[in-house]
Amino acid sequence: MNEIEKTEDCCGHGGEGCSDMEKKARDDKGLGMGVIFFIVAFAVCFLSGWLVFPKLLYSSKEQPFNFDHALHVSEMDGCDSCHYLREDGTYNGIPTLESCMECHDVEPLGETEDEAIFCEKYVATETEVPWLVYSRQPDCVFFSHAAHLNGKNPMDCVSCHGHIGESEKCKPYEENRITGYSRDIWGKNIWGIKKNPWDRMKMDDCAECHLEETGHQGACFQCHK
């Protein structure tokens, strides 16, 4: 139908019976109820979306036992005494039990019960510690520590990993139940908003830095495999 007809027949319609007053009243009531329901529903969904949803989305696990980075860093001076580049330039990541046992033995060195657990549960039985890696990237990602440590403008660990080296307690490991990613990849903030460079480890963060440093985001195959 075109406009003219419509206005006509709606006037006609208005003319017969129902006065504007009644109409208004009817609408108010209807809309009134509607509005109340609207507000309630909105509030419930909105709040649960912000407050409950994140709780549901992430599971939280504790490390097998607490690892005192601060202590080890001071003892071993520096991160690279445990996390280092191999001869072939690849990165060793989390040290294997073997390398821990270069210092540790079945007999604990200190008094902490965490070390006690370590010694009896892992050293004694020679089983690797199932550490939960906060910064574990997905399988499709190829990250070259060598390039970032030995490249043109070397970076320090903190710029991506934050101040974990100064931590005495391991924070609980939070895993996204859907994706299986560590929460640190997306960032603590549910919208993924970051304050510090190390608050997030998504591709965009790599690209951002690459753009600044190299003038180009880099080709896909630079960081994917």
Partner: protein, 416 residues
């Protein structure tokens, strides 16, 4: 029982009768949905596609429905921009038709891609060089536009219209419809075109590749033109079917004649362009890649892809309907007109088929072979699914909405 919803002053079949009809079509829909689930759960290995046929029935269906739905944007263009006022009597209907076609296209795309949950990457990680990106954006935008164009008609439903809010909403929307129509026309121009571009830019595929203007190969313009030309044909076909089913005349002849005439001229001009394009391709483009035209239509194992398909597309389903619709006598004779619009609808579908499937069939490496393809039931079911869905939408719209302004006048209801 649903009489309260039926527009005033028009007659509709009894609800049970209507319900049975819908139920039958609904069964087909269910079959389609089952096929869809199979594709999603088992993966695309259930289809007849392979590494030579990455594009097949589905992509054809997409291109075809969008071309056929082209009636919406073109009629809209005529009515709102060029103010061809008679078309107001059919505009609601073509809008619904367009809505159905575009909804179908989007649904099929969602099944066709290997990782549906990543479908949104096409927007989020868009590659501006890709014709498909252009398609995706324009397609979804135009679908939104069609929805907006459809809404006022829905709001005119007798019950909804009682709500002043909706009443006024639809009123005001009608007011601004011209803007949407213009946007729609613009968007359509691009995505119809970019669908043509999809094939035309494939410079590794001599059968599809076309030179062109700036970033757009000739197929870009041919597709837009053909959609505008053949879209209305399809609209008229469906209208004719609706009239047959409802045993009613719903739109006055002068409207149809007008649309048919416009369509006729569009088809004729298009087909001339198409013929020129084909000749240029056959004599310049393909030879520059070392291939004779005969190679594409003859040769061992070329299956159905012979000259016949070319002749059918261009002459039988192009030139013929074009002429039938520009000649007054044949245009106004219901039978010849019906033949013409049916041929037209077939023609454009055939063109899309060729531009998708024959492209895949033709070997490019001299030591490679022709590849043929046969769809499987899930593909067919999921392709029929939106058609059945469309039938339901149209039936509902016809039953409960004042789609045809002239219906009342053309069919005086004798209240007994």
């Amino acid at each position: 029982m649903d009489s309260a919803l039926i527009p005033e002053g028009v007659k509709r079949c009894s609800f049970p009768k209507f319900f049975i009809g819908i139920a039958i079509v609904g069964a087909v829909v269910l079959w389609g949905v089952y096929g869809m689930l199979v594709c999603w759960l088992k993966g695309l290995n259930v289809t007849g596609m392979d590494d030579y046929y990455g594009f097949a029935l589905w992509i054809w269906a997409d291109l075809a429905v969008i071309a056929l739905g082209g009636g919406a944007f073109f009629t809209g263009l005529l009515k709102y921009i060029f103010k061809v006022d008679e078309l107001k009597n059919i505009i609601n209907f073509v809008v619904i038709l367009g809505f159905v076609c575009y909804a179908s296209a989007l649904l099929i795309l969602a099944i066709d891609i290997g990782q549906p949950l990543r479908g949104w990457f096409i927007f989020w990680h868009a590659n501006v060089h890709s014709m498909l990106t252009e398609v995706a954006f324009c397609l979804s935008c135009y679908f939104a536009v069609l929805t907006i164009e459809f809404i006022p008609n829905i709001l005119e439903n007798r019950q909804l219209d009682k709500v002043p809010f909706f009443h006024n909403l639809s009123h005001n929307m009608h007011g601004v419809m011209a803007i949407f129509a213009a946007t729609g026309a613009f968007l359509s121009f691009f995505h119809q075109g970019s669908l043509g571009g999809v094939a035309g830019v494939l410079y590794g595929r001599p059968f599809a590749y076309r030179e062109g203007l700036l970033v757009w190969p000739w197929t870009f313009f041919l597709f837009t033109w053909s959609a505008a030309a053949f879209g209305p044909c399809f609209s008229m076909v469906v209208l004719r079917i609706t009239e047959a089913v409802t045993k009613k005349k719903l739109v006055k002849d002068n409207v149809i004649h007008l649309l048919a005439k416009i369509s006729g001229w569009m088809i004729t001009t298009y087909i001339i362009a198409k013929i020129i394009d084909t000749i240029y391709w056959a004599t310049v483009t393909a030879p520059s890649m070392g291939l004779k035209m005969s190679f594409f239509f003859t040769g061992e194992g070329n299956g159905p892809y012979n000259y016949l398909i070319l002749i059918t597309e261009i002459f039988l389903c192009g030139v013929v309907p074009g002429l039938l619709l520009i000649v007054k006598s044949t245009r106004e004779n219901p039978t010849t007109r019906l033949i013409a619009i049916i041929l037209g609808a077939i023609g454009v579908s055939l063109n899309r088929w060729v531009m998708v499937l024959q492209v895949m069939a033709v070997p490019v490496m001299p030591f490679d072979k022709w590849a043929l393809y046969m769809p499987t039931w899930p593909e067919i079911a999921t392709t029929i699914l939106p058609v059945a869905g469309g039938i339901i939408v149209i039936s509902l719209a016809y039953r409960y909405l004042p789609v045809f302004p002239q219906e009342k006048e053309l069919n005086e209801v004798t209240v007994e």
